[in-house]
Each structure stands twice: as C-alpha cells, then as structure tokens.
Symmetry: C2
Subunit: 322 residues, 2 copies
C-alpha cells in the first residue's frame, strides 16, 4: 500500500506534479496551503475584510467554503455564504438544500436569494421569455445578484469556486479561437469599483478539479453532485477539458503552469479596458449606462428591475443580521 511521502501513513492521494503521495491529513493541508498561497500572492483578501463566498451547492463551493472557513482566523477576515436559488426545479431544490447543510456544517451564516421570489420567474422561464440561452441569462442574473448582495452587505470581496480545470479549458478555448479579450478576464482577483462593483476573487484557481472533489469528500462536506440540467457543455468545451487532462497525465503540472501563467499575465493580454459607469436604472456597474440585468428585466418584465431588487436584498440583509 502506498504511503504518505511526508509521514508514512497510508496515502489517499497522489499529486503527480508535486511528486507526492499524501495521507488524508497531509492532502487536506496541501490543498489549504495552495489556496492560502493563492490568496496571499494575488492579494485576494486583506485583514479585516468581509468576504461573501458564492456557493452553488456543488463540490467546488464546498471546498471553497471549507478552506476559507479554516483560513479566516489566520488571515483575519469575516466570511458569509451566499446561495442563489435559480428556480431550476428539482436541481435547484437539492442545490439549495446542500448549501444549507454546508452552512450548518461549517457554522457559517448563509444568505439565500431566490430568483423566483425576486423576479417572479426562475431562470428557465426568464430565458424562454428573453429568447436567450438559459446559461447566458443565468450568468447575467447570478453576477448581478451576487454583486448587489455584496454591495448592500458592504462586503469587500465576492469569492467564487472556479477551479484550475475550469480556467484552463476556458483559456484554451479563447486561445484556439484567438479571442484575446477573454484571456484578459483570467485574473484571480479583480478590484472593487467604489459603489459600482465588489472585487471578485477565485481562491481555487490553482486547485485541480479532482483535488477540489477529494477535499470536499475527505472533509465530509455536504455537496450535491449533479450537473445543472441546462449546463450542456458544448462538445468543444468537453473535448478541451479531456485534452488538457490527457496532457496533464503525460506532463504532470502543465495545467498548473498554465493557470499560474495566466494569473501572472492576464493584464498583459491586449484589449480595451472599458470605462465602467453607473447603470442609469439601478446605479450598479454598467458599460454604457445600462447594466445587462436592467436590460434583461426591461425586456422580460417590462421594466428595469435592478433598483427594486437591490431594495429587496437590502431588506433581506437587514432582517438576517449578516
């Protein structure tokens, strides 16, 4: 039986790019240190800040919340969890339940925003009415609600659970299609823009998908292991993930080299930095005067709903004492 390279206990994981076999304890520590290094290196969180961790209910959210909960004392930040209930039938019910169990398990406050309650429709119906792909509408809604929540809660950061596989596949697609602007977006941390947008950080950007999965399992963190029924990976996305993992198995560490290089280089890729301006309806970030959430709700609901939604979120936060 393979033994831990560090202590000789039975190994539960092989980390080929680091030439290590690790026991449960040392594997958990390995992941936590990797995240801590990422947080420090990219100044993702400073002492005294308030962090909202966006959790979907899946394995990456579980690992994100689990690791941040452990780092928060040493790094000295406050942590609350936020879950967006997208209103996608059974999938959303189970995702929400997993998020609630995760918050319980970690003893962290959780704020749930329900798209149906806030907008009268879940994501699938919004998408149908907008005649747009569900994933695109979902992206607009999630991004808006998380930012609005962080603004209203006076948080300093929104942390998301994007892992190294997500980032590598996205970047490789952007490279193959030579969409350089998308490569600029590969920053592990974006800055806050006073009153308009709260800084977004990706503490797991250098954690492999299978490391994230194993971490959540070994810590016994609750998560819901299903893909969203709407999330049909286009076959290119799927083939790219497969390809990178095959390359990784032959050249251990190449995925890490890519995501770390991207983090270092993101600002160097060419592209225009658009000037953000307040949305004329809701006051949050927009490029051109109308944010995509207000544009979407104008189209689907007959009026821009950003302002009203911000008000509802404010009441929710006040009621929750977060």
């Amino acid at each position: 039986m393979a033994k831990c390279s560090l202590c000789g206990a039975p190994a539960v994981a092989e980390v080929r790019y680091a030439r290590l076999r690790l026991c449960r304890e040392h594997f958990l520590e390995f992941v936590e240190r990797k995240v801590e290094r990422a947080v420090r290196e990219h100044h993702m969180i400073r002492r005294g800040e308030k962090v909202v961790a966006a959790i979907s209910g899946g394995k990456d959210s579980a690992t994100l919340a689990g690791v941040l909960a452990r780092l928060r004392e040493r790094l000295g930040f406050g942590l609350v969890l936020a879950h967006i209930d997208l209103g996608i039938g059974e999938y959303s019910v189970r995702s929400r339940r997993a998020s609630e169990r995760l918050a319980d398990e970690l003893g962290l406050p959780l704020l749930v925003l329900s798209v149906e309650e806030l907008l009268g429709d879940g994501v699938p119906r919004l998408a149908m009415k907008a005649r747009r792909p569900a994933c695109s509408v979902c992206g607009i809604v999630k991004r808006y609600l998380l930012n609005a929540l962080a603004i209203e809660a006076r948080a300093d950061r929104v942390a998301t659970g994007h892992n190294a596989d997500d980032i590598a596949a996205y970047a490789l697609k952007a490279f193959l299609t030579q969409n350089l602007e998308d490569l600029r977006k590969q920053k592990p941390a974006t800055p806050s823009i006073e009153g308009l947008a709260v800084s977004r950080v990706k503490p797991l950007y250098s954690v492999y998908e299978k490391e994230s999965y194993l971490y959540a399992l070994l810590r016994g963190l609750p998560f819901y292991h299903e893909e969203c029924p709407h999330a049909r990976l286009t076959s290119l996305d799927f083939h790219l993930k497969e390809m990178i993992n095959k390359l990784e198995s032959r050249h251990p560490g190449i995925k890490l080299q890519l995501v770390r290089g991207l983090a270092r280089n993101a600002d160097r890729y060419p592209g225009e930095d658009w000037e953000p301006v307040p949305c004329r309806h809701c006051g949050l970030i927009s490029y051109g005067g109308e944010c995509s959430f207000c544009r979407l709700t104008s189209r689907v609901k007959g009026e821009p709903l950003g302002g009203k939604v911000r008000g509802k979120i404010r009441s929710l936060i006040e009621g929750s004492h977060i």
Copy 2:
C-alpha cells in the same frame, strides 16, 4: 467512390473544414489558392521582388517551391532556391540530392551552401564543440546563412516552408507555458531591416501538413521523406501535434482558425521589441552588438566568422550568376 465536389471527377482528398472533396486538379488548385491568398493578405511578396525560397529537401520545401514557381508569373516576382547542406552525414547527402532534383524539376536556379565548406565542420561537430544541443546550433547557423545569402544576393524575401501544424504546435506550447514573447514571433511576414536582415515570409502558414504532403506527392515533386536524426521532437511537442490533430478531427477548421488568428494577432501580444543593431564583427543583424553566429564561431573556431562567411557567399553568388 467519392467524387469531387466541384467537378464530379474521382476525389483524391477530403478537406473537411471546407466541406469539400476534391479531385487531383481541384486539390492542387485549392492549395495554390490558399497560398496565394496568404501571400496577398500578408503582403509577403510584392511585384518585382526577388525571393529566395529556403528548401531542406523535405515535403514542405517541395510544396513551397512548387507553389511559388506557379505563382511567380501572376504575382510577378523572381525566385531562386537555396539549400543549406548541414553536414549531417547521409541525411544531409540525401536532402541535398532531393533539393537538386527539385530545382531541376522546377527549372529553378539553386544555390547550395555547405556548412562544412564554410566553417570546416558540419552541424553535429559544431554542436559538440560548442556543447550545445544540435538543434539550437543548427537554428543559429541556418538562420544566419539564409539571411547572409539573401543580403548578398540583394533578395527582398526569404520564404520558408513552415506549415500550419508546425505553427499551431509551437504556439500552443508557448501558450501552455505562457511564454507570450514566443507568440509575438508568429507573424507570417517580418519586415526587412535595411542592410541588416531580409524579410522572412511563411507562405504555407495556413496549409496543413497533410495538405502539403499530398500536394508534393500529386505534383510528383521530388522530396526526401526522413526526419533529421537529431530532430528528436521532445515528447511535449509530439503530444501537442497529436492533440491538435485529434481536436481538428472532431472540430474541423480549428487549426486553421488558430493559425489565421495568430497571424492577425501576433503584433498584439505583449513583449519588448528589441532594437536591432549591426553586429560589430559581420555587420548583420544583432541585438546587443554581437550576432549569435559570430558568438558561436568565436567560441567554437576561436574567431567570429560572420564576415568571412559573407565574403565566401558573395563569391559563390557571383560565380553562380543568380
């Protein structure tokens, strides 16, 4: 039996990304048009210019010379072939012979530069003496000799046979390792620098390796089908070519999209443009005052040989009436 999509004759090739099956005539025309488009789009060759096509004796050289020979009347340029005999035993003997047969077949003048005659040693011995990898020494020597030859022959362009597969694999490696400077080099045409360097162009940059191979075969052009014994593809290079081709088979056209995108974007990648200055020994291009050829020969031969080599090449050209 599959038929040509254009004329109904028996097809010899399927070009999946263009959704075409083509007969011999239409395939040859397809490749020639692709090269012509590349030449025009990137201003690789202007009317009245003199082009030196660098030929190794392999399939890509054969296709390069074969297509340029056909384009030269319509586009109005002069064409000579140049072969560097690297002094790598039997491989070089056969490569040189293939180059001579190619020149004969196409009725084009050929100038052969022998590394052994010019420097007293072939590439393997130079590399051994310099204690550097053969491929790195070979690159320095070939680049220098071709540029010196073009300068002395008052040529306007040096054309090389790099195909789309070469370029895609090179670029993907640069991307995965986030070596952005290497991505800047992916230009299909570099400009001449008066007196220092002659413009380099890659007319086959959008031609797939298998298209280049089939073109040479179908035109009956002589070529030598062996890898250089020193050219051990590192396994990463090999896996990357394999990977791109697998991706291409599932997403026809993705390789083309990449190389065309790179050609468009090369200048947009970040990096410093070093100021070229004349080498203090030979007067040709250097970055910092001493060219890598003079540095190499100083080390291996006890003196910088750029100047002498230029003189010998000048005499050769005068003797050959090219």
